[in-house]
Symmetry: C2
Subunit: 295 residues, 2 copies
Amino acid sequence: MQPELKLQQLRCMLAILDQGGFHAAARHLHRSQPAISMAVRDLEERLGQPLFEKGNGKAALTPFGQWCLPRFHELVAHHDRVSRDALAMTCHQAGRVDIATVPSVASRLMPAILASFVVDYPGIEISLQDGHSELVAQMVLTGEVELGITSLWQPQEALSSTPLLHDEIGVVCRDDHPLAGLDRLHWRELAGYSLIRNGTSRLLVGSPAAELLEHSSLFISNMISLTAMLEAGIGITTLPRLAFQEEHERLCFVPLAEPLLVRRIGLLCRTGVSLSPAAAAMRRHVMAHLGGSVA
Amino acid sequence: MQPELKLQQLRCMLAILDQGGFHAAARHLHRSQPAISMAVRDLEERLGQPLFEKGNGKAALTPFGQWCLPRFHELVAHHDRVSRDALAMTCHQAGRVDIATVPSVASRLMPAILASFVVDYPGIEISLQDGHSELVAQMVLTGEVELGITSLWQPQEALSSTPLLHDEIGVVCRDDHPLAGLDRLHWRELAGYSLIRNGTSRLLVGSPAAELLEHSSLFISNMISLTAMLEAGIGITTLPRLAFQEEHERLCFVPLAEPLLVRRIGLLCRTGVSLSPAAAAMRRHVMAHLGGSVA
DNA sequence: GTTGCACGGTAAGATATCCTGATCATTTTA
DNA sequence: TAAAATGATCAGGATATCTTACCGTGCAAC
């Protein structure tokens, strides 16, 4: 059977040559000189051939030792490379996180979060993609991404969720709409207005306001199209506040006070599978930025 | 500082995955199961991150473990490759020998020696080159070759020589030459004949026969040319028996009995530098074939 | 030469490391 | 529910490893 070469012993041999002697190598490796002698002897016994010339005072390689030297050097270098990479991984100086979020979070919250993250962890590669909440949950579930930030649906066995923040749902309409000036409103006040459904409309399901959806004949999933519709005064819609693009001059957001509807946004990850070091760092980072927002 | 990953521990991790469990890995590695657990724990502590998922019964890798796996596998494979190559080297299943000999040895002795050597050590690469005896010694001295087989000149400090065989010196002449029929002859009997000097003629230096060289006006170094001269009856020459090509039909070799001159052929190698495993094997092989020839 | 110094090798005891055997908690299987 | 299998844990003893002290050699300076 082939011998098991110990990295420490190989390091000894390299140090002897680098430092030019057993004593110097011992000093360099913070060992005693006999330890070096013994390491070399053991290594030579394992190999079955002497590596250093004996007898004369100085440390000189045998031809076999010369043959071994570059190979040992390469092997030790390989180890150090692997070790260093692993360390970089655990110290969050390298690695990769894949995150999925709903579009509103991706566009409103993630920019600031990622901006500060890349400052703290310059070596970590980040991939962010968005999709509707079910898709996000699915991507986490399949392992396509490690983290998901989405509206918390019904809890699942295989997914662990951490609440991050509450996002109140309101009505969005043009600034000349009768509802525009109100501070808060009851869902019944919406009766009679043309309601445009969108991807977030199912957040109303299960609430008294769900009844509104039945009288809506328009469904627009694309946010750009939706805002264009609203700006054209074609109707009104409901949106979580985060999903409302505040920079639209002609659109207003009026919170829905009765019933008070919120979507709970949380952080998803798989149960039973731990996070990669990079993802764990991202998780901590996200929670440090948003974790205080929820009661 | 980066952690020192022990190969045994990496092997443990790989075995756990290969064999599908700690117990199976323990059996496969001829260890107890706790040893595997502890090796994994120690490895995880060094890395600062868990490699295996805890809690659930089965052995499953963390994402970090999955990241490490191919790297560790490659590192272990690298070690095994180096170790195996070194073993092949020491077991004389691989390697290389460079030898230099005088032409007579190269053409008369080496074919048989090398033929049996390559049978015993099929993996070893051989390089054989010839040159006159001083050149051979020089090549050994400079390390250009590890072994030399040549006529032993004055012993040198840096060269260790092992006598292999005695090669008697005689006169070579055409079969119709007056000396041709003799069994043995005295150097004085050569007086009056035209003597052609050659590369081996300096073997006479220091002997009574040296006087002959002074009356020789022809020097031919090339053996082919020399035999052509002899066959043409242009003169006679002195040669060691080994250097005499016996297959020449018209040429005779007559031993020089008085003085009895021999060239001592031996095996040269550098002192202070040990031989490569392959060269050591060749040295043993040569001495087993020729070592008995000398008293 | 003789002395001093640096080199590497050796021996014995201390220390750290590793492995084992027994045992436990948990999960899976029959 | 009983039985088997998984991995974790702990105390102990075997093994390996390191250190301290000492030895022999070779080289340089005196």
